[in-house]
Symmetry: C2
Subunit: 191 residues, 2 copies
Amino acid sequence: MIKYPNNKTYKKKTFIPRNLGMILEDDINKSNEYYLKNNIAIIYKKPTPIQIVKVDYPKRSLAKIKEAYYKKPSTTDYNGIYKGKYIDFDAKETKSKTIFPISNIKPHQYNHLKNINEHGGIAFLIINWKHYNEYFFVPFNFIKHWWNEYKSITGRKSIPYESFKKDCYLIETGYLPRLNYLKVIDKLYNI
Amino acid sequence: MIKYPNNKTYKKKTFIPRNLGMILEDDINKSNEYYLKNNIAIIYKKPTPIQIVKVDYPKRSLAKIKEAYYKKPSTTDYNGIYKGKYIDFDAKETKSKTIFPISNIKPHQYNHLKNINEHGGIAFLIINWKHYNEYFFVPFNFIKHWWNEYKSITGRKSIPYESFKKDCYLIETGYLPRLNYLKVIDKLYNI
């Protein structure tokens, strides 16, 4: 528990055991809600694509899906508009202290980000290094460099932590927004 | 049936009775596929949001959704990037010969389009007048004008067909792409 100046007590967020995949998603969604409410940007997580097989109508007004399956997404999870610019990204995480396995980025995600970048959109990843509790803004050019290493004859399988420290950008974390990734975009793209 | 030069026969598309809601969506999806394959634009339909309640795992590798419900979407159905611009739209249709009921546009859709427009994105509707087999590109300003009429004291409930003829833009239809709505954007927004 932590005491705040207004004398209320809150459970301190970091005390709760975290299912971090969901928490990262939740942190990004909450940041996007903040951006939306404050008229800063309009960014949403795309719904998970589902293949629906069987639907029942127990009432006229109610459709109950009885059989369905997850479908492979063909793009990334997040897109939207910020200062007139199209932005598009995905979120990843690693428990490792030393490396990020490049195979965590799926070919359809890489190809989509590449495509967006070529069409003048802002394409990137947010990567959470859980051990360090650090969130990196990973610009497309960084991803492209390492993807080419990955696909090359030498076939590098992972990106060292040091490269993130050197060539990526730490995202400020806070209460609102939880992950201020748009601040990195402001600096990086001069918009 | 129609004979093609390669001597194969195909069912001519217009002979098939159409579930037009699905067909309009399909026509837009196919147009988007064409745009994507030809590196013209990257535009996708967002998946329908689903609230998942129960999932079974009949095999380790298979997740079978046993109970789920449709959720209300909070935005529009389509978004993407074209010539560096963020674009965002929804598709509607009417069977009427004379009017389009404004209530076909939901408040969350109107608010989202308004928001996108204010942030510098290209926001619009594609409206199919089924009786005329016409597809209109409906710019946000047109929607805004009629939405204000709708919300005013006089409370107009519908938009006459003539207003579409006068103030909207017919979308060229064809084989590939089926609905060339980006051509309207080229002219209208000078990009």
